[in-house]
């Protein structure tokens, strides 16, 4: 992908005026694709997204049974497990980074905030979209929101509301970038002034809905294999969202450094390594905390005998192979200053968290029942299609807005005048 517009900071500042005058023309020109169309990613993702679209039409025409293998015994499948439950955990990087940068004031991580918040916002947007496909009667989703029916004692009620509020908070956190792109200084000031409030709200809401996703399963205890179920699921989900989210930030920024090098400024490139190692340290810490909790819940509820058999082995694969191993790998890689090492550890971590969520939701759910649910190819295609669509939008924005580079000169000048730091 090569970039066609001279998007240097000065260039942006120069064409600020025309942008504001002719916003719609500008928007139209920005909507045009940039760069090569025939990349590997496009060649794979476009057919998948088109197929997913067709399947979605079939799903609404014939019901969920027409395209999925869901059944009365397995009411939730991979759409819920991967897109919603795991996807939200992977989006956890945003609240951790915002907490560190805006609340603790650790400026070191500032360059990573925007792209992470953006990715997280889009993740929620698309995964909430996935939820609409998943719901049998999605038109009634307004009921719990407009106050028609407040199932106040329902965990999902809280999770749904927190999703909604969190999306607003994340959008607010990210919105100055949109104002910079559109060339709107006054709007930018207003939006900027709301950042801290949005961050505070976002962090509080994240703590609750990340754990809330675990709480959804608290009443399914007898149906989930005891190795995966414990009353501490909410806390386990919360802690694992920390390393899931940060691992994704590490992996994403490694990819961004290659793919988006041309829209990345020197500062972002320079700080990439330092930030990655810092995040890796937090990951490792959170993972060992998580492992400690897993061990405690294990010794309280089980004995070695429960580790025999297929499910026991599968649990060990998840815990040892994809949690303890990447945790150790993080430590070694940090010691040896190996960027490759922490990237590998991050990938393993992501697989481990995906495994965990799939296990709780689907695989260990009614593990002992015959004819266990396996997704149809159509469920897989739609799951991938949603992820690809998200990446498309993410790419579109990164290529156009100041995400991986400093804000335009006018915005930085404005910040300097007001004595605030911009990143």
């Amino acid at each position: 992908m090569s970039v066609t517009t001279p998007d240097t900071a000065t260039g942006l500042s120069a064409d600020l005026a025309p942008r504001r005058r002719r916003f719609w023309a500008f928007l139209l020109s920005e909507l045009k694709p940039q760069g090569k169309l025939l990349t590997t990613f496009n060649v794979i993702s476009i057919p998948v997204m088109l197929a997913a679209l067709v399947i979605v039409v079939l799903r609404f025409a014939g019901g969920l049974g027409a395209v999925t293998n869901l059944s009365d015994a397995w009411p939730w499948g991979i759409w819920a497990a991967v897109d919603v439950i795991a996807g939200v955990a992977f989006a956890g990087g945003a609240y951790v980074l915002c907490f560190m940068v805006y609340i603790l004031g650790i400026k070191k991580y500032a360059p990573a905030v925007r792209v992470t918040v953006l990715a997280s916002f889009l993740a929620y947007l698309f995964y909430a979209g996935a939820l609409l496909l998943e719901l049998g009667r999605p038109w009634n989703i307004v009921n719990p929101i407009i106050g028609n029916n407040f199932g106040l004692s329902a965990v999902l009620f809280l999770v749904a509301w927190h999703f909604l509020l969190y999306m607003i908070a994340a959008l607010l956190e990210f919105s100055p970038a949109i104002a910079e792109w559109a060339g709107a200084p006054r709007l930018r000031r207003v939006l900027q002034s709301m950042t801290l409030g949005a961050v505070i709200l976002g962090v509080a809401l994240s703590l609750l809905h990340q754990s809330g996703l675990g709480a959804l399963f608290l009443m399914s205890g007898p149906k989930i294999h005891p190795l995966w179920f414990s009353e501490f699921l909410p806390i386990l989900f919360l802690v694992s969202s920390i390393f899931a989210g940060l691992s994704l930030v590490i992996v994403e920024s490694a990819i961004a450094k290659r793919v988006f090098a041309h829209v990345m400024d020197a500062e972002h490139k320079k700080t990439h390594r330092r930030i990655s190692f810092g995040l890796a340290r937090i990951c490792a810490g959170a993972m060992f905390a998580y492992l400690g909790m897993v061990v405690i819940t294990f010794v309280h509820g089980h004995d070695a005998a429960s580790l025999t058999g297929g499910m026991g082995a599968w649990w060990l694969v998840e815990i040892l192979g994809f949690t303890a191993l990447p945790g150790a790998l993080f430590v070694v890689a940090i010691k040896r200053r190996s960027l490759t090492g922490i990237r590998l550890a991050s990938v393993l971590t992501l697989i481990g968290v995906l495994m965990n969520r799939l296990n709780v939701c689907v695989i260990a759910y009614r593990w002992d029942a015959p004819n266990h649910y396996v997704p149809t190819w159509m469920e897989v295609v739609v799951t991938l299609g949603i992820i690809f669509a998200e990446v498309w939008v993410l790419r579109w924005i990164i290529l156009r807005m100041p995400i991986l580079r400093k804000p335009p000169a006018w915005a930085r000048a404005d910040d300097a005048r007001r004595g605030i730091s911009s990143h």
Binding site: F60, A61, G62, G63, L64, G65, A66, L70, S71, D72, A73, P75, F99, Y102, I103, L104, G105, K107, A110, P111, L135, G136, R137, P138, W139, N140, I141, N143, P144, G147, N148, N149, G151, S153, A154, V155, L156, F157, V203, A204, L208, S211, G212, A215, L216, F217, L218, M219, S220, G221, P222, E267, K406, R412, D415, G419, I420, S421, S422, H423
Partner: protein, 290 residues
């Protein structure tokens, strides 16, 4: 469910009407006997002969297709058959077990439902309402007895299960299955009366019964109660559910929510102020960029 004018109104009317109707519902729900002593059904498996008259009556009452009465398979309830009779061969004896929604005292399905589509009527029947349900299926995930069933092949799917003929009982009649049973193997009444009756039968004929009323304490207690001659695990009953009401399992989390929402933002703001105090110092220049 569609037939119930009151709730239809509730679902269709916007804002204030709905709220008023809800307030009305709540007032009714707190009427003396409802919560503590709902209507229920006592199912005495020692009397059941497996004739399936009840499942046929159920199908007729709810306009469902002919029920599956095949004795040779272990049947589950379906969207089209809300009660089934299963045969168990225990110690050379054939024991028939009716299965349907247990109408829990504190139903997991109701507490899981974020739209209040799954709810409890004043006299203790757990029912589902089409106008509210968004089809998330968390009720199915949460029900300890795996009762709610879903119309997987419908673009407008319903969640279906036994509604304990709440419309009939509101009119003073007994549920269709109870009405139909020729053996009086199932009886309808207030739960306290049913429990007393069950204890009486057990006391009078101790040799005929195992010393356990299924539903008395299971999952916090259910309005459907069972008597049997043999231990319940031999009759396909779940015996790992404990005696805690299922909604209790989410209580701690739900309690934590307002705490976090009230405390965490203030805490975060405090930390933010503390870590940014350098801004106030005169001898430090404003933040350098980046």
């Amino acid at each position: 469910m569609n037939r119930r004018g009151f709730f239809k109104l509730c679902g269709a009317a916007a804002g204030s009407t709905a709220l008023a109707a809800r307030a009305g519902g709540r007032a009714l729900a707190s009427a003396p006997r409802s919560e503590t002593d709902p209507y229920g059904i006592l199912i005495d498996t020692t009397r059941c002969v497996g004739c399936n008259t009840c499942s046929e009556a159920c199908a007729e009452a709810h306009e469902l297709p002919e029920p599956n009465t095949d004795e040779d398979v272990l049947k589950d309830t379906t969207v089209e058959q809300w009660t089934v009779i299963n045969k168990f061969d225990v110690e050379d004896e054939e024991i028939y077990v009716k299965r349907q929604c247990m109408h829990c005292l504190e139903p997991a399905c109701v507490s899981a439902c974020l739209t209040e589509a799954m709810h409890k009527t004043e006299d203790g029947a757990v029912v589902w309402e089409a106008d509210k349900c968004m089809g998330c299926r968390l009720c199915m995930l949460s029900c300890p007895f795996d009762i709610p069933k879903y119309e997987w092949n419908s673009p407008n799917p319903r969640v279906q299960k036994c509604v304990r003929c709440f419309e009939r009982t509101e009119d003073g009649k007994v549920p269709a299955c109870v009405d139909a049973c020729p053996e009086e193997a199932i009886v309808f009444g207030r739960r306290s009366q049913l429990l007393a009756e069950a204890h009486k039968r057990m006391a009078e004929n101790p040799d005929d019964y195992t010393d356990h009323i299924y539903g008395e304490n299971e999952a916090g207690g259910t309005a459907m109660l069972y008597l049997a001659a043999v231990p319940f695990e031999e009759l396909g009953f779940k015996t790992n559910l404990g005696t805690r009401a299922f909604p209790e399992y989410t209580k701690e989390f739900l309690y934590a929510v307002p705490f976090v929402l009230a405390g965490v933002p203030a805490l975060l703001l405090g930390i933010n102020r503390a870590t940014h105090h350098r801004d106030d110092d005169d001898d430090v220049t404003p933040h350098e960029e980046g």
